[in-house]
């Protein structure tokens, strides 16, 4: 398949079409991301609530990149994502003194960024048609221009498929695929049952496959 020159093969992928049981490299442990801040978050929030502005700045420093990734998934372009991140931190600053000590920070932070980004998406609608996805892996040898063009087209179509998803499916797909959250973390962040995460992610993937056309997903 054409992407083989762009993407190094994986054992799981090469075995996927086997007539016998496909070999699936099941990832047993996905690193948790929700607790990245943990104690630091609580300490910085407490500092802010005592009147120390540096507590907020430390939080902002730690979470701005994360906020950008979340916002970009919703708005799809750099300018709107940056705007949404700035507005999110203004809202966080306005509400942080009411944050309950001991509560996990990330779900609260996520809701603010998500809602701000959705407002931004509704109000601005700039640069629709941009594709904010990029390849993780650089090709190890030069593919032909045709292969590059095909891979690029598939990348753009994948994003179009993600954009076409219903909001609840899209959110779960983005959190799992591009934010690296585990099912349990997604359930906690969205405050939904684990089974709902499972079914939404599966539905999202099924619709993306339908959008791409089954035969076009690279083997």
């Amino acid at each position: 398949m054409f992407l083989s020159s762009l993407i190094p093969p994986r054992s799981s992928r090469s075995a996927a079409n086997s007539p016998t049981r496909p070999r699936v490299d099941v990832p047993r442990e996905r690193p948790a991301v929700e607790d990245q801040g943990g104690d630091h978050d609580q300490r910085d929030i407490a500092r802010f609530q005592r009147g120390d502005a540096e507590g907020f700045e430390a939080l902002m420093e730690r979470y701005r990149q994360r906020a950008y990734g979340l916002a970009l998934g919703f708005v799809g372009n750099h300018d709107d994502a940056m705007d949404a991140v700035q507005k999110s931190f203004i809202r966080i600053h306005r509400s942080l003194d009411r944050f309950r000590a001991g509560e996990p920070f990330f779900p609260w932070f996520y809701r603010i960024v998500r809602n701000t980004a959705l407002n931004q998406r509704r109000d601005e609608r700039r640069h629709r048609g941009d594709c904010p996805l990029e390849w993780v892996t650089e090709p190890d040898r030069l593919p032909s221009p045709l292969q590059v063009a095909e891979a690029e087209e598939l990348r753009v179509r994948l994003w179009a498929a993600v954009e076409a998803l219903a909001q609840d499916l899209r959110e779960v797909f983005l959190l799992y695929t591009f934010q690296g959250l585990k099912y349990r973390e997604i359930a906690d962040v969205l405050d939904i049952p684990l089974g709902t995460v499972m079914s939404r992610l599966h539905s999202a993937r099924r619709r993306i496959r339908q959008h791409l056309g089954e035969e076009e997903v690279p083997a």
Binding site: A16, M82, N115, L118, L158, V217
Partner: protein
């Protein structure tokens, strides 16, 4: 122990996705592996899911250019300050405007001004008030429609 029930495509699809993601507990994993051994549809579906996952694993959302964070803190602080500034300006304007209106009303009532001038001032004032109310109502309506404003857990 989960019974080794047969695969039901309408309801068991999410288990296959979760299997590919390594998110099943031991019982569920054994069940899916049982289906994998027995059911060609499961093998096909797992194959499709693995291909899609492998494809999306090689993509990520773009990161912002390095310079995007250069003056990020300053921009957030500026926006915050300006938001406060606009609020104070609005309230100050309302106080001064209210006082000016009161004084104007007193002048119109007490001073020896021709009736036509009084009428002109009153009509102009009403027009200005209608415009102001219209703009404020529009802004208020937009704010009320903003379902996500001030989200607090």
């Amino acid at each position: 122990m989960t019974a080794r029930r047969p695969f039901a495509p309408e309801t068991d699809g999410p288990l296959l996705s979760a299997y590919v993601d390594g998110e099943l507990d031991d019982e569920q994993r054994e069940l899916v592996e049982h289906w994998l051994d027995d059911d060609a549809r499961v093998r096909e579906e797992i194959g499709r899911l693995v291909r899609l996952k492998a494809f999306t694993d090689h993509l990520r959302l773009r990161e912002p250019p390095r310079e995007a964070w250069d003056d990020f803190r300053r921009r957030v602080v500026n926006r915050r300050e300006r938001s406060l500034g606009w609020t104070l300006l609005l309230f100050g304007g309302l106080v001064i405007g209210g006082y000016a209106l009161l004084r104007l009303a007193l002048v119109l009532i007490t001073a020896a001004i021709p009736l036509v001038v009084r009428l002109g001032v009153v009509l102009g004032g009403i027009g200005l008030l209608v415009l102001l109310v219209s703009v404020v109502r529009e802004r208020w309506f937009v704010r009320k429609r903003d379902r996500y404003d001030d989200v607090v857990r």
